[in-house]
Structures are given as structure tokens and as C-alpha cells.
Symmetry: C2
Subunit: 354 residues, 2 copies
């Protein structure tokens, strides 16, 4: 089946587009090596995009709000994980496609609700859906995508995955809620940080990998290995997100710097820096209290203290460690193109710039 896909000019075209997309999204490492991976994932991701296109609708205000966000794209890293995990097994079946779409929809549903919760002005360099269509439409849009996602998981016919997705979403809400409670709390510790990161980021990656594996017909042990890979990847992904908020290029990330901090979200580098440089607390408090973008001098001072404290390096090292753990989990699986691709995804994640 794969060789048939390779033959079509369309697939080659899609592959080229995917490489460009990866490069444009800061996943350069992955982009350059996608040539080796060939069309293993290109056709899968093209089918994903086609399927996502069918969901977009402009009939209702809530659908327009959801479509506005879906149109901004995103890295599609979660569905990519589903596709690759499925290819560790018997391949990217229609059921696996449904699961890949579902994981992306759940991710987008949480973004729609989070942006209302955070009163976020922008997302991916465009005005947030809540700004264009209102908070109300954004709430219903998130509800709608969640239901669309669950319907696809039902359709996939793997009922245990519906249960695990419901548990995953429950864990995500729980973590978001804990994060809400700890807003602006400079005394947040590492344990709470990892509880939040695991719940709000890692569980969905974990589910994506397990779901793909199961759709690919893999047994319990390989699926568990994939899930562990997903969990570590998710934490690494969150740690890099934290870093990009402090050190990223706004032009690339599509986000304003220090957004997490202004929203009172305690990220890993900030927690580590506060342990080592308690004097940082008053500067951070000023950003939280100010609410808006900090003045350039204040931002520079904070960034320098973060660098000097070694918190940036430690966060990067912590992400790298998670990627190493992810790779270790992968080694419990027989070597294949798909496992190599997954290792590349993890590797590229820590080097992404948006």
C-alpha cells in the first residue's frame, strides 16, 4: 500500500508541502529528515488535513469560531503521533485517521476554552476566536469540537479508547483547574508543576500514542511503551513551550513574550529560577500585577536573571532528559521506520522554535 502511495505525483507534492510546513513551523530538524522517512507520514497527514477541512463550517457562530482556529493550522504533532504509532503496527487505517482527527479536535477544544479562561487576545499570530466571535461562541465552539472528537472515537470502533479519552479529558480539566488555583502563586513547587504539565499536556500525547498503537493492532506491551514515550514527549513539549514564552521570537511563536507569566502561570524555568534567585520574586510579581506586557527594561532584567540562575539551561536539560526517556521507551519496540520517525519527532520537539 505504501509503495502505491509513493507513486503518485500528489504524494510527492504533499511531502514537499509537509517539509515546508515543518520548516515554517520551526520543526526544521524533522523537515530535513522527512526525505528519509519518505511518504510514510506525508499521505497520512494529507488525509488528516482533508478530513479537518470537512469539519470546518460557517453555518453557526460557534462553528465559525471553531473554524477560525482550525484554519490557523498548528503543528499537528499529536495526529502525527497517532499516525506514526499506527504505522508501528499494521498501518494508518481509517480508524486511525478518525483517532488522529479526534486528538487534534480535543487539543483545539481546549485551546478555545483556555483562551476564554485566559482572556487571550491572540493565538498563532491571529486574533483569538473569542476576539473575533465572542467568548460565548468560543465556549460553544470548544464544546462542539469536543463532541465531534468523541463521535470520531466512537466511529473508530475501539471502545476502550473512548473510555481512555474520557479519562484523559477529565485529567486535562483537573490539571487546568489546579493551574487556575495556583495562578500568580510564586510559591508553586516543582511537584505541582509536573502534576499540571502531566495533566494538561502529557496525557493527551500519551493517549495519541496508545490510540495509534491500538488502531494499528498492537498488543498491551507495545502500546504501553508507546504511551510512556508519549508521556515523556508531552512533558518535554510543555517544557519547551515554557521556554519559548520567555526566550522565543514572537514573530515565530505567534505569541507575545511573557504571556504565561502575565497570566500568572508558573512555568518550570520560573520555578527553578525562584528557588535559586529569590530576589527575582519582586520583579515577577510586578509583571503579574501589571497584567500587560512588561516594560522592555523589566523584561530584559528578568530574562537576564533567568539566564544567570541557570534556570533556562536546567529547563532545556530537563526537556532533553525527557526526550532521552522517550527514546528509551521506544527501544522496547522492534526497530522500524516508524519508531525511527517517532524518535525524530521527539528529538525535533526540543529544538523547535515555535
Amino acid at each position: 500500500m505504501l509503495s502505491e502511495l509513493v507513486k503518485t505525483a500528489e504524494t510527492a507534492d504533499v511531502l514537499g508541502r509537509l517539509r515546508e510546513l515543518c520548516a515554517a513551523r520551526g520543526l526544521d530538524g524533522l523537515a530535513s529528515r522527512l526525505t528519509d522517512l519518505g511518504d510514510l507520514v506525508a499521505a497520512d497527514m494529507s488525509r488528516l488535513e482533508d478530513e479537518l477541512l470537512t469539519i470546518r463550517s460557517h453555518r453557526r457562530l460557534s462553528e465559525r469560531a471553531a473554524s477560525h482556529l482550525l484554519e490557523t493550522g498548528g503543528k499537528r504533532i499529536r495526529p502525527l503521533c497517532v499516525a506514526l504509532a499506527a504505522r508501528v503496527g499494521s498501518g494508518f487505517s481509517p480508524a486511525a485517521l478518525d483517532l488522529a482527527v479526534a486528538v487534534e479536535l480535543v487539543h483545539h477544544a481546549t485551546l478555545l476554552h483556555d483562551d476564554v479562561v485566559d482572556l487571550a487576545p491572540a493565538r498563532r499570530g491571529r486574533p483569538a476566536a473569542r476576539v473575533e466571535f465572542g467568548n460565548a461562541a468560543s465556549i460553544f465552539a470548544g464544546d462542539w469540537l469536543l463532541i465531534e472528537a468523541l463521535q470520531r472515537v466512537r466511529r473508530s470502533g475501539v471502545d476502550e479508547l473512548l473510555d481512555s479519552l474520557l479519562q484523559t479529558i477529565a485529567a486535562m480539566i483537573d490539571a487546568e483547574s489546579l493551574q487556575l488555583e495556583l495562578r500568580g502563586r510564586l510559591d508553586t513547587d516543582r511537584q505541582s508543576y509536573f502534576e499540571i504539565a502531566e495533566g494538561k499536556s502529557a496525557t493527551l500525547f500519551r493517549w495519541a500514542l496508545g490510540a495509534g498503537g491500538r488502531a494499528g493492532g498492537l498488543g498491551a506491551d507495545p502500546c504501553l511503551a508507546l504511551e510512556e514515550f508519549g508521556n515523556h514527549l508531552g512533558i518535554a513539549f510543555q517544557l519547551i513551550d515554557d521556554l519559548l514564552d520567555l526566550t522565543g521570537e514572537p514573530g515565530e511563536t505567534g505569541k507575545t513574550l511573557f504571556t504565561d507569566l502575565r497570566e500568572g502561570k508558573m512555568t518550570y524555568p520560573v520555578i527553578v529560577a525562584l528557588e535559586r534567585t529569590p530576589a527575582l520574586a519582586s520583579l515577577l510579581q510586578a509583571v503579574i500585577d501589571g497584567g500587560g506586557a512588561p516594560e522592555a527594561a523589566l523584561a530584559t532584567a528578568i530574562r537576564e536573571l533567568l539566564e544567570q540562575s541557570g534556570a533556562i539551561d536546567e529547563s532545556r536539560a530537563c526537556a532533553a532528559e525527557r526526550v532521552a526517556l522517550a527514546a528509551t521507551a521506544l527501544r522496547r519496540l522492534p526497530k522500524s521506520e516508524a519508531t525511527a520517525a517517532l524518535a525524530m519527532v521527539a528529538d525535533s520537539t526540543v529544538r523547535r522554535t515555535r
Copy 2:
């Protein structure tokens, strides 16, 4: 099994409490006749309350927001419908209990999101959860209850009910979204009104009845009759809700008068009155534009025009007609205590005062 339940003092006690509750909630007609129904539903509803108690949690902010709403009670009319529909069949099994809890949780989830959407200050005579715990916690609380509901439907083991509940929730979101678009539009017509009422109110009643029937082992035809009953009951319920917003006693309903109107929601009596008394438009527009509670003189003038136009009577007649249609649907089922009880529920619905 029923006779065993009757014997216990606890059941009698529960029955008394239920009658009191019905009376306190303005369902007096039902309360006085519950003596005849005996403990048919009393024990069921007691199990429901016990189960709802287990859901309440104060661990997270979102759970506290959800519990705040759950503690205010409510009429429990949707789970009552599940229980009675199940008793049309083989009885109120543990699966039926799960479904009864689920329908109440879905209802509460929509209330939590609606109150954020409407920026509502109060619900059931108490400050809304969003006022006590914030909009963010209310959004996550709604998400949480939705997932809890879906998990219970999965646990019930009747998978087609999960699909139909997902479709039901999708229809509810669609209707809420249409309502959002038509806010403040005095030219809203009856067709749009019924589209919204069907989607936001009737579909969940329909599901409750069908779910109960299926859990009670009934076949396709009796379930369809129950669903039609539920659909008509839901529309009648919404029509009375509309009337209570204009003519109810705030002390009983727990709501401020003219809330729908102030939020720009076009209710049935308002649409009918506008057809007959176009001069009403400028007064209604003043309430919508004002946003707050209208001055007493304005409220009185509007209420008088609504009465004089015959819109109040027509709305009441329309609700009564739906109850009659509901009763007709019921007659397709073999007569039983449970069908008699369902007829009473429908009958009491149009005479409720809150």
C-alpha cells in the same frame, strides 16, 4: 421488588420528602398525586440523589463550582423521566440510574456554560457558580460534568445511547449557537423559536425518555413513542419557562423577571405579541438596550400589552397542546402505573410555578 421497597420506613420517609420537594418546587399537582404512585419513583429518586452526592467534590476549583450548582437541587424532572420510562419497561436498573444521573449532569453542564455566556448573576435564587468561583472555573466545571455524564452512559453498557447522547449534545450546542446569533433580534420568527426550543430543551427530554425505555429493555416502537412524548414535553417545558420569565413570581422561580428579554432572548410569548402588537417593539428594545432590570412602569406596560395581545394565553394554549400531543404518544404504550405517572409529569409541567 417494588413491594419490598414499600415496606421500609426509609422509603416512606423518602416519599414524604419527595412530595414536599415537589410542592416546594411548584409541582403541586404532581405532589398530591404521588400518594397514588406510591413509592414507584420515590426510591428511584432517592438513589439518584445518593449518586449525585457522590459526584460532589471540593478538591478543585472546577469541582467546587459544579458542586455549588448541584447543591441547589433543581426539579430533577429529566432523571424522573428516565426512571419512569425505565419502569414502563423492566424497571429502574443500575444502568438506568447511570443514565438518569447522566441526563441531570448534562443539564447542569449546559447551565454552567450558559451562565458564563449570559453573564448571569444568579441561578435558583443563589449567586451563580461563575459569580462565586469565576467564569474560568465555571467553564471547566461544565466540561467536567459533561465528561462525568458521558462516562456514566458508557458504564451503562448501552452504546447506542452514547451515540444518541453525543448527537443530542451537538444539537443543544447548535441551538444555543443559533440563539446567540438571534440575540436581540425582534424579527425572530416562530420557526426559529421552535428550532431553538427543540434543540436546547426538547432533545434532552427526548433522549431521557428513550434512554430510560432502552434501559428498561423496551423495543424500538415503544422507545419511539417515549421519545415523542419527551420531545413534546420538552417544548411544553420551554414554553412555560418563557411564561415564567414574564409572569412568574421571582420568589418562587429564583430568577429575576424579564431575564430572557434583557439577555435579548426572543421567547414565544414575545414573538407572538410582536406579531399582533408591533408597537410593543420600542418598549422591548428599551429593555434589551437597558440591559438591567426594567423600571417598574416599563415592566408593567409590557406585561399589560403581552396580556392584552393574547400572547400569554396563546403560549399557555400552545404548551397545553404539546402536553396533549405528549399524552397521545403515550397511548401507543400499554397502560401501566408508569405511563400514568408520565402523563402526570407532563400535566404538572404546564401548571408549575417555578
